[in-house]
């Protein structure tokens, strides 16, 4: 029995079920999907086995410890204890896909060389069975010399079995180099370890053999994460080691891999048997259609359009319900609490601000629901395959498809997902254009403007003008992203063609419990995160918009008297007060800058607050307009916007041109502090986030300017 608390790392090829096992053990909710490369960072949780609290670490998938991408590197660094000074795990669970044993065991054989206790978890036994593969875990265990447990992570009792095995494991270390490197490879490794790695690097002992093998096959330090001196000597030593292998008749890039595969072949030849299976699987049949030369791109386009349509129309009834709830709730609070500042603050500040944003929850839930279904089935990998040719032409990569599509939900997970793109140039271009994808934070602004100012006329029989505008905004974002990528492709010199070696996982039914759980989780995050910022900003804003208190002059204006431009007969006292508040004065100050775009000072304040997060815009407008409203009446924000009149000109503040200009501004401007922060983190410099902010916002200003000037002169 393991009485000591252990740190247990989950390692394995992408898409083998590591996060599924992690969630089952820890009760946490790591994202799970049928796409290789969903987990891109290290995640820690705990599990109790036999009364002992163990630490569990979920890692990104890797095909090899000889990493090619950032996500794979994180797995390797964690295993050898170089990742952010974390300790080496006490036990590694190598999770393998039983339906694809040989390739999965390649990584397992590498991990066994690290001198850490290893247990092999044969996962997806149900899938293997379906493919007619029979595996004898005991035979594999005896030929590899490590404990083996066969499970299906979907099944709760089998997770218990895994826990039992963990608690009974004596933590013996596997025999290193069991795959028997031949003499020349051994000689080359020894040379590198003794003449270079031991003397000049800080690679821990346990990882020296693996690192030597990595250097021999890479032939260079490409992307080394540790420090060393005297690069020249290192290169010479690597070259010498490679020459030893070449003299023995081998290829330094192939020697290790071939020996490992030989070893694996011997270990599994008896243990795994394939029965004759039907030639054409369900996956093959679906793929014949979905990845078809012509049908494939058409299907991809239809999938996108269907998703936008669902967000646009299916969510409406729920949104109306929420809207009503907040208006009624606000009225109820206003009438129940005694009049005064607290009442104003709650009703005009907090409830108005929050209501303006919560209303978009249904759309956001629909969006995430769709993305999770697409990811859960395995379609996303096909989308990457089908779109790769086009993506490469415009300076992106097939692997950019998934980050970009996550961008419809939120740029932040999208930018993180670019870790699966191996080439730096492809990755940076993807990051730089990703915020153009119409993220869910823009939805509130789009939806409000469309509902209020775009007529709901029917066009061509089946489409509505509102729907077309909505789709248009999504397409606009995509087109701008493509356009920006094409420009950046010219700016950054092209290297040679980058690899696109991606596994297409077999189709699976999405796990509905996971889809619903993840969707609900995203909804919760949206409400709490947006809620926090919005409540804070609403309160501050309410204060700035309500003070200092100024009385409207009591002179009764007659037609004949001189006209005071700051005062108008049609204006109510609340509106007068608002214009003379701190916020009003500040807004007036910046008005000249945004006036050419068709925006008044109230929109201006919204633009400023929305640099914290886009959805704050709607909350801000809601707060401002609620303060302006005469006591006792309460209408929805949409009505307030439509009825808003400029007291100086007597014309409506919003025209269609203003609404379009505002939507274009939101489509293009970089108004999200979290995105800036994540780009800084992922690129490790301020250069990229600064460039992103400047080019996007400049583009937004110019485009809105043109749109408004043309629109208002038509």
């Amino acid at each position: 029995m393991n009485k000591e608390p252990l740190s247990i790392a989950l390692v394995g090829n992408p898409n083998t079920g590591k996060s599924t096992i992690f969630n089952a053990l820890t009760g946490l909710r790591q994202k799970i999907a049928n796409y290789p490369g969903i987990t891109v960072e290290r995640k820690v949780g705990t599990t109790i086995i036999g009364g002992v609290l163990h630490k569990v670490i979920d890692l990104p998938g890797a095909y090899s410890l000889n990493y090619k991408k950032l996500d794979e590197r994180i797995a390797y660094e964690t295993l050898i204890g170089s990742y952010e000074h974390e300790e080496v795990p006490d036990l590694v669970l190598v999770v393998v896909d039983s339906s694809n044993l040989d390739r999965n065991l390649y990584l397992a054989s590498q991990v066994m060389d690290l001198g850490i206790p290893v247990m092999l978890v044969l996962n997806m036994t149900d899938v293997a069975e379906g493919k007619g593969i029979k595996i004898n875990p005991d035979l594999i265990s005896s030929s590899l010399g490590i404990p083996v447990v066969a499970i299906s992570a979907k099944n709760k009792t089998e997770i218990e079995k895994l826990k039992g095995e963990i608690s009974n494991f004596d933590l013996s270390k596997p025999e290193a180099l069991k795959w028997n490197p031949d003499d020349s490879l051994k000689e080359a490794m020894d040379l590198l370890i003794n003449d270079w790695i031991k003397l000049h690097t800080d690679i821990p002992d346990r990882a020296q053999a693996i690192e030597a093998l990595r250097l021999i096959s890479e032939g260079d330090f490409k992307d080394a994460f540790y420090t060393f001196e005297d690069e020249g000597k290192g290169r010479a030593t690597i070259r010498k080691a490679q020459q030893i292998i070449e003299q023995g008749g081998g290829n330094p890039m192939a020697a290790e891999v071939l020996l490992r595969y030989n070893f694996i072949g011997e270990s599994t030849s008896e243990a795994a048997t394939h029965s004759a299976q039907s030639e054409v699987s369900i996956t093959d049949r679906i793929d014949a259609f979905v990845t078809h030369k012509v049908a494939g791109p058409v299907i991809f386009t239809l999938v996108l359009l269907f998703m936008f349509q669902a967000i646009f129309s299916w969510a409406t009834p729920f949104m109306d319900m929420i809207d009503l709830l907040f208006v009624e709730g606000g009225n109820w609070v206003a009438n129940t609490l005694p009049d005064g500042m607290l009442n104003d603050l709650l009703v005009d500040g907090v409830i108005a601000g929050l209501g303006g944003v919560v209303i978009f929850l249904p759309q956001i839930l629909f969006l995430f629901f769709f993305i999770y279904i697409l990811e859960g089935t395995g379609y996303m990998a096909r989308a990457a395959f089908v779109m790769d040719g086009f993506m490469t032409k415009v300076g992106l990569h097939g692997r950019s498809v998934v980050p970009l599509m996550s961008g419809f939900a939120c740029a932040i997970p999208g930018i993180m997902a670019t870790r699966t793109i191996e080439n730096w140039r492809d990755r940076i271009i993807t990051i730089m254009v990703l915020p153009f994808m119409a993220c869910s934070a823009r939805l509130p602004v789009y939806a409000l403007m469309i509902a209020a100012f775009i007529p709901s006329t029917t066009v061509l029989g089946i489409f509505t003008l509102q729907g077309i505008t909505f789709f248009g905004l999504y397409i606009f974002g995509i087109v701008m992203a493509v356009f920006a990528a094409v420009v950046m492709k010219r700016i950054f010199p092209t290297g040679q063609q980058t690899p696109f070696i991606m596994e297409l996982p077999a189709y699976k039914m999405p796990k509905w419990s996971v889809v619903f759980q993840n969707t609900a989780e995203r909804g919760k995050v949206f409400i709490t995160e947006a809620g926090k910022i919005i409540v804070a900003i609403s309160i501050v804003l309410w204060f700035l918009a309500s003070f200092p208190k100024t009385e409207m002059p009591q002179v009764v204006q007659s037609e004949s008297t001189e006209y005071d431009s700051s005062f108008d007969i049609t204006e109510n006292p609340e509106s007068y007060q608002l214009r003379h508040s701190f916020a009003g004065r500040f807004g007036k100050m910046i008005e000249p800058v945004i006036e050419p775009l068709g925006f008044d000072w109230k929109i201006g304040i919204g633009l400023i607050t929305s640099f914290a997060a886009r959805e704050v815009m709607v909350g801000t407008l809601n707060t401002i307009y609620s303060i302006e409203e005469e006591d006792g009446e309460s209408s929805t924000l949409k009505e307030k916007l439509i009825n808003d009149v400029n007291p100086e000109t007597g014309k409506p503040v919003y025209s269609i041109a203003t609404a379009i200009s505002l939507m274009i501004f939101f489509a293009l401007a970089m108004q999200c502090m979290s995105t800036i922060a994540i780009v800084k983190r992922e690129t490790n410099s301020w250069k990229w986030p600064t460039a992103m902010f400047v080019y996007m916002t400049a583009l937004a200003y110019i485009s809105s300017f043109i749109a408004f000037q043309i629109g208002s002169n038509l």
Partner: protein, 73 residues
């Protein structure tokens, strides 16, 4: 004359003869080892990438990778 995976145009099964070029290690690691059979399943809309089936799973390759895979004629 050596025949490479990038040269073939018909979806069929081929036996791998040798792997060479810059991506050798990676292709081998993915299980495309000499002597193994691989099936070309289809090509993407613009001709590349291609989709192959090897060791029972599906994998995509671009032209530059297909050029590294020598097959038996």
């Amino acid at each position: 004359m050596a025949l490479f995976l990038s040269d073939i145009s018909s979806p069929d099964t081929y036996r791998v003869k040798n792997i060479q070029g810059a991506d050798t290690t990676r292709l081998l690691e993915m299980g495309i080892t000499p002597g193994i059979d691989l099936k070309v399943v289809r090509k993407a809309p613009l001709g590349f990438p291609i989709e192959i089936k090897v060791r029972g799973y599906l994998l995509t390759l671009r032209e530059s990778e297909a050029k590294c895979i020598e097959i038996e004629g």
